[in-house]
Point group: D2
Chain length 444, copies 4
Amino acid sequence: MDFDVVVIGAGGGGYPGAFRLAKSGYNVLMVDPKGVLGGNCLYSGCVPSKTVRELAHTIYRIKNVLGQEVKVDFKEIQRQKDRVQEIRFKQHERELSEHGGVTFMKGIARIRDPKNVIVDVDGKEVEVRAKYVLIASGSEPVKPKFPGSEYCITSDDLFEYKSKVSDLPQDMVIVGGGYIAIEVASVFSKLGVKTHLLVRGDRVLKGFPEQMVKTLLSSLKLDIMYNSPLFEVKKVGSEYEVIFGSGGVKRSLRTNLVMLATGRKAVIPKGSEGLTNEKGYIKTDEAMRTSLQNVFAAGDVNGLAPYFHAAVRMSLAAAYNIMANGEPIDYVDVRSVPVTLYSIPSASYVGNVNPSDAIEVTYNMEDEVMSQMYNEMDGVLKLFFERGSLRLLGGWMVGVHSQYLINEIGQAVAHGLTARQLAEFADQHPSTNEIVSYAARKVL
Amino acid sequence: MDFDVVVIGAGGGGYPGAFRLAKSGYNVLMVDPKGVLGGNCLYSGCVPSKTVRELAHTIYRIKNVLGQEVKVDFKEIQRQKDRVQEIRFKQHERELSEHGGVTFMKGIARIRDPKNVIVDVDGKEVEVRAKYVLIASGSEPVKPKFPGSEYCITSDDLFEYKSKVSDLPQDMVIVGGGYIAIEVASVFSKLGVKTHLLVRGDRVLKGFPEQMVKTLLSSLKLDIMYNSPLFEVKKVGSEYEVIFGSGGVKRSLRTNLVMLATGRKAVIPKGSEGLTNEKGYIKTDEAMRTSLQNVFAAGDVNGLAPYFHAAVRMSLAAAYNIMANGEPIDYVDVRSVPVTLYSIPSASYVGNVNPSDAIEVTYNMEDEVMSQMYNEMDGVLKLFFERGSLRLLGGWMVGVHSQYLINEIGQAVAHGLTARQLAEFADQHPSTNEIVSYAARKVL
Amino acid sequence: MDFDVVVIGAGGGGYPGAFRLAKSGYNVLMVDPKGVLGGNCLYSGCVPSKTVRELAHTIYRIKNVLGQEVKVDFKEIQRQKDRVQEIRFKQHERELSEHGGVTFMKGIARIRDPKNVIVDVDGKEVEVRAKYVLIASGSEPVKPKFPGSEYCITSDDLFEYKSKVSDLPQDMVIVGGGYIAIEVASVFSKLGVKTHLLVRGDRVLKGFPEQMVKTLLSSLKLDIMYNSPLFEVKKVGSEYEVIFGSGGVKRSLRTNLVMLATGRKAVIPKGSEGLTNEKGYIKTDEAMRTSLQNVFAAGDVNGLAPYFHAAVRMSLAAAYNIMANGEPIDYVDVRSVPVTLYSIPSASYVGNVNPSDAIEVTYNMEDEVMSQMYNEMDGVLKLFFERGSLRLLGGWMVGVHSQYLINEIGQAVAHGLTARQLAEFADQHPSTNEIVSYAARKVL
Amino acid sequence: MDFDVVVIGAGGGGYPGAFRLAKSGYNVLMVDPKGVLGGNCLYSGCVPSKTVRELAHTIYRIKNVLGQEVKVDFKEIQRQKDRVQEIRFKQHERELSEHGGVTFMKGIARIRDPKNVIVDVDGKEVEVRAKYVLIASGSEPVKPKFPGSEYCITSDDLFEYKSKVSDLPQDMVIVGGGYIAIEVASVFSKLGVKTHLLVRGDRVLKGFPEQMVKTLLSSLKLDIMYNSPLFEVKKVGSEYEVIFGSGGVKRSLRTNLVMLATGRKAVIPKGSEGLTNEKGYIKTDEAMRTSLQNVFAAGDVNGLAPYFHAAVRMSLAAAYNIMANGEPIDYVDVRSVPVTLYSIPSASYVGNVNPSDAIEVTYNMEDEVMSQMYNEMDGVLKLFFERGSLRLLGGWMVGVHSQYLINEIGQAVAHGLTARQLAEFADQHPSTNEIVSYAARKVL
């Protein structure tokens, strides 16, 4: 079979570029083992987990503002999650059918050489010749092996389509200190589950802005056990006994569910191992080019910004640069990609949030009107402006609607807007975004 | 008494400028008949009405997504509304005490001449000399007189602090077709009230983008009676009989509550009548100058953009231009002020939404992920880009979170961002703002 | 022969796109009857004419500032002009050799159908198959026929490589009122030639900003005869008698040289006549697409902005859009293309210079420092800012260095910079550009 | 005497702010020992030196392009310089009379305390009370003392109004390696003077971008003697013997003129010594505030950017911040101030020209069309773009018109424009600015 482009992976790093190339007449083969578009994000990641989060948050609000307990069966929540996944699977099918030039193949791709890709379709090998390859094979959870690891689930098990987890546990141990661990702990706590975090080292959320993490944690009030490596999980009746270290001594906990959230790693298609960097990701430049001519990589697999929205942007950049045969016409500004932690409250940041010498302004969420309406007044907004030019370098926020505000802030960072420009704009009242102009006005 | 500046009105057009001037050492007198800061917006306008709206929306969501009816006493909702008002009154008191240079006086101001203002404090006249006057006396509902008008309330009665309306009526007639009428009808419908709109002419929401209104109305499904002037309201037991015209014949309706939402008009301080334009507003330029030297006007009273956030921006511009003694150093771009209709779903617009020849892109909310999570998939986003330059001229939206997205869109309009710039930014996933980049990417 | 793209024309609308496509691996054929790259601009247009202009200006300066007459043989000036043309022909040859994928063919192209182009090479027809065609065949002078027209030259004759005109005439009649007529009259006047302009109607420089033209003309002090259609040119010894109408009566003039500058028209390749609009240009949109799929047009031939720098920009846009197979990824903003009249002084404009309601600021060149140094203090700068936003809408200028300043102004117009942004920048002192910030600062 | 503001210094750091304050009704006293507006820049600095430079350049061009030697008496050049100075003195007088609120006093100011300034007017002390003080006392040449230093001149002697230097020396020794030394050496060489530079260390133009200096020096071909400290100057008849060290041994040179260009230092008004930093400048922040409330400093005296255009910008910022009583409303972005070395060719830079990791593009002036016309093809343009965002970080240029181009580049740096934005603009052809877009297009 002959194609212009083979796209390996049908998630955020894959399908947007595939569709864009098809729009311009390219003949594209998209290969994915899942057999559906959307990647992990849709199958078991951001979309289902945030559906659960939004419903948990809504239920929590009734109680928090109006003092009324709403009893909801977790099955109902999971059902709505499945519905959203179904809607989106269908949406992608429709998009696929609208883009005539894309052929979809369920299978596992292997790169023989830059011009030849072999796809394993149910054990049968299909040979494909292509001018360009876009690797967008994504990432997967690292599932460590230890005594009793077979009793543990990952977030994929929790959120996958038609998940087996349909009842809320009373008590839950989450192993790990990354953003998935924190999100799940926060959301399930709000749903009434007693959660405990086991963290190997003395910090959580490494790589996130330190002050933001501090602010967030003081609001989340999670039960975090630091310096607590996990040794073993034992099944005891319908419960689990979790054995872990703490301050040199072994301790144990009884719980109903153990979830591992111990990191993710790139999925490297066979034949592209030589393209990886020391961290195991496919090495790419800002134009999404790998070290091999005509081979591009986008999304989680290149480790530049492992978020769905970044993957989509990279996928499009790869598509444009394939059109230009690798003489770049599009570059991705990874620094201006916003990142959100979907805990309750959420926390978001974008740009340079550790500038060496900048004008720093703060807005406390207790003065923000929507937070007052919801009685969720925890949090802070911080903006960092370059001295002299007043250009917005970056910002972070903990609090209501951070996932929406961070886009206004991010657009400003991406396009070099200044404190004055933010100040001159009259953000809608009442909307949480107002605090962007309020904060900027403190400089003037 | 001698002051540098007298600010007439303590709402959005008044206190921000007063505080900014005080920060720069100006001696400011702020006069307001209410005796509290925040103006109508806080006392009986946007803040309390949107608190009710948010709670109504949250309750509605539980039912709409999870199929569960939450019974909430309206008293609880009004109580939370009062709490928010109290928090904000205190917040303003704190701000006032933080700005040493501002003296607050409860009273009614009258302008004798540009340098002399008389304040009526409980019937006693206080003479004040000032170098500058900032008129920010706001607007008030027009309450027409007709037989039975004494039985009718306005939105002020509904939302004022410690409102007497603490129970939901079963049935409610709203007279008017402006944005307050539509918002109240939409929100109270979601709370289970049967609402009816009596509209004098054949259109509602005049001045709003036509296509947006059409999209919104098809989603709101309100009971609107066009060409239906109100003649009389009669009290019949605990109910009201509303008599109105319709197609040349008189009709009547039985209802529990009649609310008049028949427009607002500027509050013109005595002595400044000569400064008004033909529509009864104080005439000002983009620098907030009136036709009288050293007299400025900001907020609803000048009719340029009768929204709280616009008032705040104008108030600050007036403050800066007072510092510069009327040789302007700050101008307000009224065209880039966003406007939101807080119905459920909400509708927002900003900039030029009727360009003569532009590239127009559309994104349907049924494909938007947060709308899917909430099962509120009505609505549309429209963006308008200038041909050639691809500069964003304006946009409108009906649907989930329009009040937040409109700020990202508005910042782009205000600062001349292009489709390409919007497309290059990776809006946070999942967040409704994603559709801004998705829409922009359709152009490229 | 098979190519990916056939580019018809090797001028500003042709070679930049051809080179860009070759850089991305496209196999490009470029066809031009001249046999050299650079088009009219280099062969007989902007480059040679401005070389003469710059030298004339330099000579004039010595006299004007230092009071010293420099006697220069016109042959020397023409020799330098030829040298510049030679340098640039070689430069283009080098560029051609650097872009392996471009084949150059001297000949005349005819479009059989969108996929087949026939090239007449010295009478022999070569058949070429191509996926895309870029028409960039430029424009040519309109040379009207009348008694004695064979005695008249055009600007092409004056400025072509190895021009036959090597001596300055004492007296010269220029027929026409367009920018070429004005430029030649101005430059040759400065060289000591007595020039006369015969203009058919009652205006010159139609399409240029009216106020700018007025300012320019008052400085140029040319001998312009309006409403003076030309009837006949007779050879009388070594001189010419020019017979023209004036106020209903025939008049005549004796002169040494008659130059026709009576407009230009598009060169339409055979087979593409169906693609033209009512003015005889190939009709294209902002993405340089014609009404025929896979056929694009750039440069003078589409009449959108008949200037070399606009042609280059359009050519590149066409190249990018060819890469995208006509689903546009690049658009040209014709409104922000600067235009300069290379008279002495020069005059330039960009953007919207006739806004209906804008803040207009003026800077007089008599206060500008470089003009004072050169003792060339005629002229004015005008900038137009949008009310409220202070966005720079456009500007025009008559005076020293307008051709350089217009770029700073144009960048600002193209990217929506505001009066405040211009004011915040400290333009280099001493440089004429300072007046850009000085003018902007008048608003603040 | 009582004033709102005392401005110490009537140069670029002083009068713009004084005028702006007066425009807003402030009562301003401006004090300067020179008795005329314009400061050193006009009296003996950039304006007169660049007038000489422009004329030298024009004369040189005739010879360089047309091969014709123009003999010009240096007196004529100095006369034109004087004329320009006279025009500008008058211009400033006119501006002063247009700004009613500014009182000008010839004298020397001393700060008794922030609210009291004493002015020495011809030995008589005038006491002035003021609310604000703006120190803009500028800088002056450091004139070292050594045997024979009384025979040496500074650039001030060369360029002051009615300078005594009216004849060109045949041979000239310039002591120093700063920009004044290089400019004078370059310009006087072009006028036919044999120039020699004595430089103490092993580098010239410290603080300027290294690669730019290297490129410039290779074009200037100056006679520079490094590691050559000056010991003595002896008068020998009508000549001077200059004795200096070189490689450990003493050497001597005979010359007609010795000019010292050994740096400048801030002029600190008495009473403000406590406000200086370790380098002897008044310490100010980006808002032009000193460590003393209500005392501001602008221009050379604060050492932030010792250039006239920077001084003007700072002066205005100080004025706005005085209006705001020191709660800043304007900040100066020193990084985006362009700097030009007015040698022939000139060299200019702006922004960050030493980024750690950026996309760097180069354009050689031999390919630039105006350089070809003038046969001055030396030089290079370098632009530095941020990876990913493609934002222009900075640029430098050696070659024709660098002083004009640097403004287009600087506006882009100041406002965060990207390679794509520069590339999308069609710079005027033919104008040197074209290379800005040409260079940017190399990235795409």
